[in-house]
C-alpha cells in the first residue's frame, strides 16, 4: 500500500493499512541498522529541522539519529527561549525556518493541534513529535511495532494502559493505533486521571487494578507527573504507588508471558518497581531501538519514499 501523506500528525487519521506500511518500511530500516555501515542515502541533501518547544532529550535525539541514519542534515532548535518568548507567532517561526530551506520539520509543542496547524501552513512534511496531550504518533508506532515483533500481530490481543491517561499523548495515540490493529485496550488508573469519557473511543475504563490486569497480554505504564498539572488529581505519589504501582505481586495477575512497556522516562519505584522494569518480560529498551527504525520509516515515507524501495 502506498503512502500518500505529506505529514505524520496523528494516528487517528491513519488507516490500519497505512500503519502497516510504516511497519514494513521500518522492518527494512531495522535490517539496515543491523549492518556494519548502518546508513542509507535516502534523505541525502535534505535539511531536517527538529523544532522543540518543550524539553524532550529522548524524542529529540531519537529523531536526530533517525534522520542522520538517512543521511540528512539535522538542525535541532530548542525553542524554549526563542520565538514565543520574543512574542513571535508560531506561524512566523515556521515560515522563517521554511525560508531557510528546511525540507522536513519535526515539531514538539505543548499546544494540542499545533503540529496539524503548521502542517496546513507549510508545503513541506511536518512530523508531530508530540502536541500537548493530543498525540505522539511515532511513540505509538514504535510501541505497536515492538508488540508486533513479539506477537506477529496485535489482532485479538489485550493490552492495559496504566497511569496518567488524561494528560498523556502517548496513551491517546496508542488507543488509536492498538484498536486499529485489532487489539482490545483497557485504561486503568484513578478516576481523576482516567475519566469514563474515554469509553466513547471504544476502550474499557477501569479503576480497579486486579480485574483490569487479569487477562492482559501486555501492560503499558505511563509516567506519573505528579509535579505538573496532576498536583490535585490524586493525593500523593505514595498513595498512587500503593493503589496503582506495578509490583511483582500485581504483575502476577497478568497472563504468564505478559509484556511490560513504558515510553520512558521511568520513575523507578513509582509507577513500576525497579526490578520489574529490568526483567526479561520488559521490552523498554527494545522500544527505544525500534523507535529509531520507525522514525526512519516515517521520515522516509513523508519525504515521498515508497515502502518497496526502502530496502536499498
Amino acid at each position: 500500500m502506498p503512502w500518500n501523506r505529506k505529514d505524520l500528525i496523528s494516528i487517528e487519521q491513519l488507516s490500519a493499512e497505512e500503519i502497516n506500511t510504516i511497519f514494513e518500511t521500518a522492518d527494512a530500516f531495522k535490517k539496515v541498522l543491523g549492518r556494519k555501515t548502518a546508513k542509507t542515502p535516502a534523505l541525502r541533501g535534505k535539511n531536517v529541522v527538529n523544532l522543540f518547544f518543550e524539553n524532550s532529550t529522548r524524542t529529540r535525539v531519537a529523531f536526530e539519529m533517525a534522520a542522520k541514519r538517512l543521511s540528512a542534515d539535522v538542525t535541532s532548535l530548542d525553542m524554549k527561549t526563542s520565538s514565543t518568548a520574543k512574542g513571535e507567532t508560531l506561524r512566523d517561526t515556521v515560515e522563517n525556518i521554511r525560508a531557510l530551506q528546511a525540507d522536513i520539520i519535526i515539531i514538539r509543542h505543548s499546544a494540542p493541534g499545533s503540529a496539524g496547524y503548521i502542517a496546513k501552513i507549510l508545503d513541506i512534511p511536518v512530523l508531530n513529535a508530540g502536541d500537548g496531550a493530543h498525540e505522539h504518533p511515532t511513540q505509538a508506532l514504535l510501541d505497536c511495532f515492538t508488540l508486533r515483533e513479539k506477537w506477529g500481530s496485535l489482532k485479538g490481543r489485550k493490552v492495559a494502559i496504566l497511569g496518567d491517561i488524561l494528560y498523556s499523548r502517548v496513551a491517546r495515540s496508542n488507543i488509536w493505533a492498538m484498536q486499529k490493529l485489532g487489539a482490545e485496550v483497557t485504561l486503568v488508573g484513578p478516576s481523576t486521571l482516567v475519566p469514563k469519557q474515554f469509553e466513547k473511543l471504544g476502550v474499557k475504563v477501569s479503576h480497579e487494578l486486579k480485574p483490569a490486569l487479569a487477562d492482559k497480554d501486555a501492560v503499558m505504564l505511563l509516567r506519573i507527573q505528579h509535579e505538573r498539572q496532576n498536583a490535585s488529581a490524586f493525593p500523593s505519589l505514595n498513595e498512587y504507588k500503593s493503589m496503582f504501582g506495578l509490583n511483582a505481586d500485581r504483575f502476577s495477575w497478568l497472563k504468564k508471558d505478559a509484556i511490560i512497556m513504558h515510553p520512558g522516562p521511568i520513575n523507578r519505584g513509582v509507577e513500576i518497581d525497579s526490578d520489574l522494569a529490568d526483567c526479561s518480560q520488559s521490552v523498554i529498551l527494545e522500544q527505544v531501538t525500534n523507535g529509531l527504525a520507525v522514525r526512519m520509516a516515517a521520515l522516509y515515507l513523508c519525504n515521498g519514499g515508497s515502502a518497496e524501495a526502502a530496502i536499498a
Binding site: 508560531l90 493541534g113 499545533s114 502536541d131 496531550a133 493530543h134 469519557q197 466513547k200
Partner: protein, 432 residues
C-alpha cells in the same frame, strides 16, 4: 415634517402580536398611524413587497473595543455591523481599555457614539474598579452618567460577599447587574468544554459546573436582595434547569443565550479552528437542545450575540493561545431564523421576539416594537434569501465568525434608525 411610507410588507411586531400584510408609517422618527394625504404625498416610499417589516433588533451584549482596541473594532465599524445585521440598538460591554469604571470614560464613549454610531448604543459600567473583582466601582455616579447596567463584562466577580454588596447597592439605583457566570477554580485554564471532545483532543476543559455554581450563587443573591441579575450567555443544561426552578419561584433574574451556543457544539473543535473558541465554550448536543427548549418556554428570555471581535492574526495561532470570542452581529438573525423559524419550531413572530422586545424589556430600553409612538427603528428582511459569510466580507473590522463559508438563510435588506435609512442591503448610508 419627514415621513417614510413602507408599502406592502409583511409587518410583524412580536410585542403587539401584529402579523399582517400592510403599510407602516414613520413620521418624524416615530412609528405613526396613517398620516394625512399631504404628508403621504411628500413621504419617502419604500417598497416592502415580499419582505418582512419588523422592529429593529436589540442586542444586550456586544464588545466594541472602544476605547483602547480600535484595531479589533470601533464604534463606527461595530455599529455598521449591527445595522447590516438588523440591529438598531446595542448594549456595549465595559471591558474596554481603560474599562468603564468612571464617568469620564462613559462620557468619552457617548461622545464617540454621537460622532460615529449609525445605531443606538447603550453603554454599561463595570461592577468593580478595573474589573479586578476587588473594589466596587461608583455605581451611583455611573448610573447618573447614563449607563443602563453594570457588569464586569467577560469577567465574573469571584467574591460572593462583594457580589452581594454590588447587587444590593445597584438595586438602590434601579440598575440591573449583568453577570458572566464562571467560577475560576472550576474553569481553570481550560480552553474548550470539558467533555468527550476535550478528552479526545487533549485540550484542557472548562467544566460546566463553573457556570452552574455561579448561576446558583446569583440566584441566591437575587433571592435575598430582590435585585435584578441578568445572566449572560447561558450554555449548560444544568444552568438552564436551575434558572427554570428559580423563575418558577418568581426570582428577579433574566437570562440570555447566544446564537453560537444554540447552533453549534464542541464537536466543531475537532478541527482546532480557533473561530470556535469562545467563553463559555461551545457545549454538547444535550446542552444545545436545552437552550432551545429554554428559549421556547421562557426560561431564557432572549438571544444576545456576545459580539467579540478579534483580529485574524490574533486568532491565527495555536488553539491554546487564541483569544476567546467570536463576532455575531451580522449572522444572529439568520442563525435564529434557522433554529426556530426555518426548523418550523416557532412562528416568525415568536422567533423575532428573542431579538426585539424581550431583550429591550430586560434593560428597560423602550425599543423593539412597532407600536404607535415607538421609535422609528425598523428593519426589512427576506427570511428566505440565502447567503454565505466570507472572510473579510463583514462590516465588522473582524472576521472571527464560526459561520464562515456556511450557508445561512435570512438577509437584512434595509435598516432604519429613528426614521433614517442607515443600511440599504449593501452599504452603510449615513451617520445616524
Amino acid at each position: 415634517m419627514s415621513a417614510i411610507w413602507i408599502k406592502n410588507g409583511r409587518i410583524i411586531d412580536p410585542k403587539t402580536e401584529r402579523d399582517e400584510l400592510g403599510d407602516l408609517f414613520i413620521v418624524d422618527g416615530k412609528i405613526a398611524e396613517k398620516p394625512s394625504q399631504d404628508i403621504l404625498d411628500t413621504a419617502e416610499t419604500i417598497d416592502a413587497e415580499g419582505l418582512v417589516v419588523a422592529p429593529g433588533l436589540v442586542d444586550l451584549h456586544v464588545h466594541f473595543r472602544v476605547p483602547g482596541q480600535k484595531h479589533k473594532e470601533t464604534i463606527q465599524s461595530g455599529t455598521a455591523a449591527a445595522a447590516a445585521g438588523g440591529f438598531t440598538s446595542v448594549v456595549c460591554m465595559p471591558n474596554t481599555s481603560p474599562s468603564v469604571d468612571n464617568t469620564g470614560t462613559v462620557q468619552l464613549i457617548k461622545d464617540i457614539v454621537d460622532k460615529e454610531a449609525v445605531v443606538n448604543v447603550f453603554p454599561t459600567g463595570t461592577i468593580t474598579m478595573g474589573r479586578q473583582g476587588e473594589a466596587l466601582a461608583p455605581t451611583g455616579s455611573l448610573s447618573r452618567s447614563g449607563i443602563v447596567a453594570i457588569t464586569d463584562g467577560g469577567k465574573c466577580v469571584q467574591n460572593a460577599g462583594l457580589m452581594r454588596r454590588a447587587v444590593q447597592y445597584a438595586h438602590m439605583f434601579g440598575i440591573p447587574v449583568i453577570d458572566h457566570c464562571q467560577d475560576y477554580q472550576l474553569s481553570g485554564d481550560g480552553v474548550m468544554n470539558e467533555g468527550f471532545v476535550s478528552t479526545k483532543l487533549g485540550l484542557k476543559g472548562i467544566h460546566k459546573g463553573a457556570e452552574d455554581i455561579i448561576v446558583a450563587r446569583d440566584i441566591v443573591l437575587s433571592t435575598h436582595t430582590k435585585a435584578h441579575i441578568h445572566l449572560q450567555h447561558i450554555s449548560s443544561k444544568l444552568a438552564v434547569e436551575i434558572i427554570r426552578r428559580a423563575k418558577s419561584r418568581g426570582i428577579n433574574i433574566t437570562a440570555e443565550a447566544t446564537p453560537h451556543h444554540i447552533d453549534l457544539t464542541d464537536s466543531e473543535i475537532e478541527s482546532f479552528n480557533t473561530n470556535f473558541k469562545m467563553n463559555p465554550p461551545l457545549r454538547e448536543e444535550e446542552d444545545r437542545l436545552a437552550l432551545i427548549e429554554a428559549l421556547e418556554d421562557g426560561t431564557i428570555d432572549c438571544i444576545a450575540t456576545g459580539h467579540a471581535p478579534h483580529t485574524d492574526y490574533e486568532k491565527d495561532v495555536e488553539f491554546d493561545y487564541a483569544p476567546f470570542g467570536v463576532i455575531g452581529l451580522e449572522t444572529a438573525l439568520s442563525v435564529t431564523l434557522g433554529q426556530f423559524y426555518h426548523s418550523k419550531r416557532l412562528s416568525l413572530a415568536k422567533a423575532l421576539s428573542f431579538l426585539t422586545y424581550k431583550p429591550s424589556e430586560i434593560l428597560h430600553l423602550n425599543k423593539g416594537t412597532l407600536g404607535v409612538g415607538a421609535d422609528g427603528d425598523v428593519i426589512l428582511f427576506d427570511p428566505d434569501e440565502t447567503w454565505t459569510p466570507k472572510f473579510r466580507g463583514f462590516f465588522s473590522k473582524s472576521s472571527n465568525s464560526p459561520w464562515l463559508d456556511r450557508e445561512l438563510k435570512g438577509k437584512v435588506k434595509k435598516t432604519i434608525v429613528s426614521g433614517k435609512l442607515v443600511f440599504d442591503g449593501s452599504e452603510i448610508l449615513a451617520n445616524g
